[in-house]
């Protein structure tokens, strides 16, 4: 095969995989109601397992907030959660709920959780 056709194949491969990835990543997820306030405490629910869901949440600033991270049969990276800004670092149980106290969030300062290998993450924005 000559070089030109090989370059063409390379571009084709990049194009096909790039397309699949961009299509897979965009597509705005429907707004999930994952925030609730009970007895003056705000709870933000996050599912962990094959990544975090929802990837971006919106919660209120200025009230005591806790994250509830739910796992069900998760052994992958997302069960190794670290949230640096609150010094949280823990291996979540394969199945169960883990409560993370994140204090009283300040508006405009988001909370970011990442898994130990860094390829999954989630973000909670406060306003």
């Amino acid at each position: 095969m000559n070089k030109t056709s090989l370059i063409a194949i390379t571009i084709l491969i990049l194009g096909v995989f790039g397309f699949v990835f961009i299509m897979g990543s965009s597509g705005n997820p429907a707004v999930v109601k994952n925030v609730e306030v009970k007895d003056g405490i705000q709870y933000v629910n996050i599912d962990a397992g094959g990544g975090y869901s929802p990837k971006v949440s919106l919660a209120k600033a200025g009230i005591p907030t806790k994250l509830i991270v739910k796992t069900s049969g998760s052994f992958d990276c997302s069960s190794l959660l670290s949230i640096r800004s609150v010094g949280f670092e823990k291996v979540l149980p394969p199945t169960g709920e883990t409560e993370v106290d994140v204090g009283v969030p300040v508006a405009g300062v988001p909370l970011r959780g990442v898994c130990s290998m860094g390829m999954y993450s989630f973000l909670v924005n406060f306003e």
Binding site: I7, T95, R112, M117, G118
Partner: protein, 336 residues
């Protein structure tokens, strides 16, 4: 009477090749002195032999052929071939990288496994882990080291067996210790992330070396480092130690299993869970290492090395970016 000859040498790809060729040729009785010039890819010989340069090249090629080098009087026209191979290797490498990331994105690896962790779950988790994102770190490291070891013609099969044995034994024993202690060892995220970054840098360097980028532009590492590598490449404990080290590499599944082992409550149950997990990862890792060896000795070896290099560079970048994100140094660039 001493005669000087200059030969062209083909097959040099690393700084340690110089040392190897000089060692082998220096041992030959007809060679008085030998000096390899890696940049020009030539060998300068002093010999008392009265034979023609062609004859000498032929005799000496016999000696270094097993290591993958050939001597010739005329420069062999391999430059063009080399150039074509990289253009074939790029699509091949990208194709495998694409498949790997598609597999991660497809979500078929995220089957929930419920219940308590038994050795059987450990084995199944190991099977999944071996094709998951962990493959980017552990598999990438295995592939790059295996390809490099095969390329340098170190006794590769023996090293691979030692590596896998070291991995199985250390997972089993460390799992047992975790179970007995009921305390975390090596489950410090920062520590594993730093180890992962080191592994990814090793992958990037080896990947660039395999594709030939490093040797082409002569950005070779100082030969002191290569001497060191060459020495440790031949040591029996090296593959054992690397097998042991994979216990601490960042991999979600490995770390989950470590926690399962430590909460299992006894040496025996921790031992069984971790050895079952390591056994589950064995088929894929064995395929990578022994597959490398068989490709490396086949006729598609140059294409294999360069494609493996591309794959390893891709996985290394993925692991490096992930490690930096995990340490909080950079913000996530991707979320597969």
């Amino acid at each position: 009477m001493l005669k000087k000859h200059t030969f062209h040498v083909a097959g040099t790809h690393c700084a340690s090749c110089k040392i190897l060729i000089e060692d082998v040729l220096g041992e030959q009785s007809l060679v008085k002195s030998v000096e390899v010039n890696l940049r020009k890819e030539t060998v300068l010989l002093e010999t008392e032999s009265e034979e023609t340069p062609e004859e000498i090249a032929k005799i000496l090629t016999e000696k270094i052929k097993p290591n993958g080098y050939t001597l010739s009087v005329e420069k062999t026209v391999s430059e063009n071939i080399k150039y074509d191979v990289i253009w074939k290797a790029i699509p091949v490498g990208l194709f495998f990288l694409g498949l790997f990331f598609l597999l991660q994105k497809s979500g078929i690896l995220n089957l929930g496994i419920g219940g308590t962790t038994t050795p059987l779950t450990g084995f199944v988790v190991g099977l999944i882990a071996s094709v998951s994102s962990c493959l980017a770190v552990v598999g990438g490291l295995v592939l790059s080291l295996s390809a490099k070891v095969s390329q340098d013609n170190v006794s590769d099969k023996k090293n691979f067996i030692l590596f896998h044995a070291g991995r199985l034994v250390s997972f089993a024993v460390l799992g047992g210790i975790l179970g007995a202690l009921g305390q975390a060892i090596g489950i410090n995220f920062t520590f594993t992330s730093i180890l992962g970054i080191i592994a990814s840098i090793v992958m990037l360097v080896l990947g660039l070396n395999l594709t030939g980028v490093l040797s082409k532009n002569h950005i070779t590492l100082p030969s002191g480092i290569f001497n060191f590598f060459r020495k440790i490449e031949h040591k029996t404990f090296t593959p054992l130690a690397i097998g042991f080290g994979t216990f601490f590499l960042p991999c979600g599944f490995t770390q989950s299993m470590q926690v399962a082992a430590l909460s299992s409550g006894s040496f025996v149950s921790g031992f069984l869970i971790m050895s079952a997990f390591a056994l589950g990862t064995l088929p894929m890792l064995a395929l990578l290492s022994f597959g490398s060896a068989s490709f490396a000795h086949g006729k598609h070896a140059p294409l294999f090395f360069k494609s493996a290099g591309i794959v390893v560079i891709g996985l290394g970048l993925f692991a490096l970016l992930g490690g930096l994100v995990a340490l909080g140094i950079i913000n996530p660039l991707f979320n597969i």
